[in-house]
Symmetry: C2
Subunit: 293 residues, 2 copies
């Protein structure tokens, strides 16, 4: 594989996720923190108008606006459609110097700690994830290969897109501990890319635990679409923990428990994520797998 | 004092505080839960347009829109000004049957657990608060007598206004455990009012621990108003715990700690509340006092 030339760190793809926004601002002011000898590192604020308004987005989710067809469609003129096209022209395949790696910084109201998302399970991405997890043992690796995020996300503009999710933190809130942890993680990723460019990465094969996206589950709703239940207290905050058939999943407003009715153990994440309610997602369901590279 | 005739339970004064919204909906559907023999109980959704949009407010904070002068000023025509006037005419001093008690349900991103706010330190309010705290020993009582909330809040429309705050919960999120706790607390308040009307409240005097509002502190900012620091990790989540002179208060993005520079121990609450950032409030400062009635 070729060397990496251009890396972009993105914050504020969602305008109310403060960790990434303030980290991006810090990195922009103190470029020495992200500068490495082997490649150029650029900082980008994804959605400036949403950041100013402290909302997730203005017209539509920017991080679902990068499908090739959307970028080519001149009819689409929402704020986020225009911004997506602009970012594509700055750093994406439509730019003169397309970017090799994007690290997009997000936060979640779910109790997910630090998550590194990879969108493809190629050797480069898997080896990077394994390396990160060896250094930051509390980081979970989340593969989106089944979810389509490699087609519509901002990070899909790069040859290799990575997303860092950190939580739990409320929208509009900066949590200092999670801020510092995310900063350290980003620096480890950059160090890894530097080592990669200098051929210092072992050519040995390895294997590690990966969480692979399976699908989503919505909250129980009535015929009119009205919410009928909440995440069960026994499931709330239990991201990445096993959910077994029969375990409590939802609590109806009446007090009745709705158990998980699947027939195999799954690992839910993004449990009760504030921004996913409008998408009809109460949680994402993951499979835990040992992957080799 | 006269008997109580009309009680109103309000949810959704802020449209992204889901606990109150869904509790109000539950109470409206199951009126038996809030019905008592000695008075009528009504349920009100404070800000329907903000609830539909899942935002705190449309034009301005509804819960700061009830000052007498604002309600009388026919020039003011923002959505919340109009809604405030409407609510005043429904249940406030301008209605034919003004309400005796309002219990307004709120939530916070701060780690405050359950808080009962009282706006006046008269014997009735103090005795109710003491009673609640004896039954729900984890409830903190917060007196706003120094903060002006008895003049501008929705609950100020009633002879006696109480606010229930519950957290930590992100905006837009329903937390089942906090939902159930809040429901139980509201029912205890209604039971108390019922006992009061039936002269079953002891005439003895009592005393208990109260947190009294002193003022607020903003985040450190530069000349341009840009945030320079976050709540220090050692203070984050420590609502109602003592903050002593010299204790870490903020963490600058550079990593430098800013200590609390006051000269007496205070008790911060609403630490890092998402909605207060725009108000220039990093936390509210409280004094802990033993009050007698």
């Amino acid at each position: 594989m070729d060397k990496l030339h251009r890396v972009v760190i993105v914050g504020g793809t969602h305008g109310n996720e403060m960790t990434g926004i303030y980290l991006a601002r810090k990195f922009a002011q103190h470029h020495d923190l992200i500068q490495r000898s082997g490649f150029s590192t650029q900082v980008l604020l994804g959605n400036p108008k949403a950041i100013a308004a402290r909302v997730r987005y203005i017209d539509q989710d920017l991080n679902r606006s990068f499908e090739y067809e959307r970028l080519q469609n001149s009819q689409l003129a929402s704020y986020e459609d225009l911004r997506a096209k602009q970012i594509d022209q700055m750093i994406g395949p439509s730019s003169n110097t397309p970017v090799d790696v994007i690290v997009d910084l997000h936060s979640t109201t779910a109790n997910m700690g630090l998550t590194l998302m990879i969108d493809q399970e190629d050797r480069f991405s898997l080896q990077l994830a394994d390396h990160i997890q060896r250094i930051h043992t509390d980081v979970n690796v989340y593969s989106t290969v089944n979810s389509g995020r490699s087609r519509d996300s901002l990070r899909s503009l790069a040859k290799f897109g990575f997303c860092v999710e950190v939580g739990p933190v409320a929208q509009g809130v900066l949590n200092a501990e999670l801020f510092v942890k995310t900063e350290t993680l980003v620096c480890t990723i950059l160090d890894y890319l530097e080592q990669y460019n200098h051929n210092k990465i072992s050519s040995l094969h390895g294997s590690f635990i990966l969480h692979r996206y399976l699908g989503t589950i919505d909250y129980p709703k009535d015929g009119a679409g009205e919410l009928q239940a909440m995440i069960h207290p026994q499931l709330q905050g239990k991201d990445y923990e096993p959910l077994r058939p029969g375990n409590p999943m939802f609590l109806k407003f009446s007090g009745e428990t709705i158990p998980y009715s699947g027939d195999s153990t799954i690992y839910p994440v993004f449990i009760n994520e504030a921004a996913y309610c409008e998408k009809g997602i109460a949680m994402c369901l993951m499979q835990k797998a040992q992957v080799s590279y």
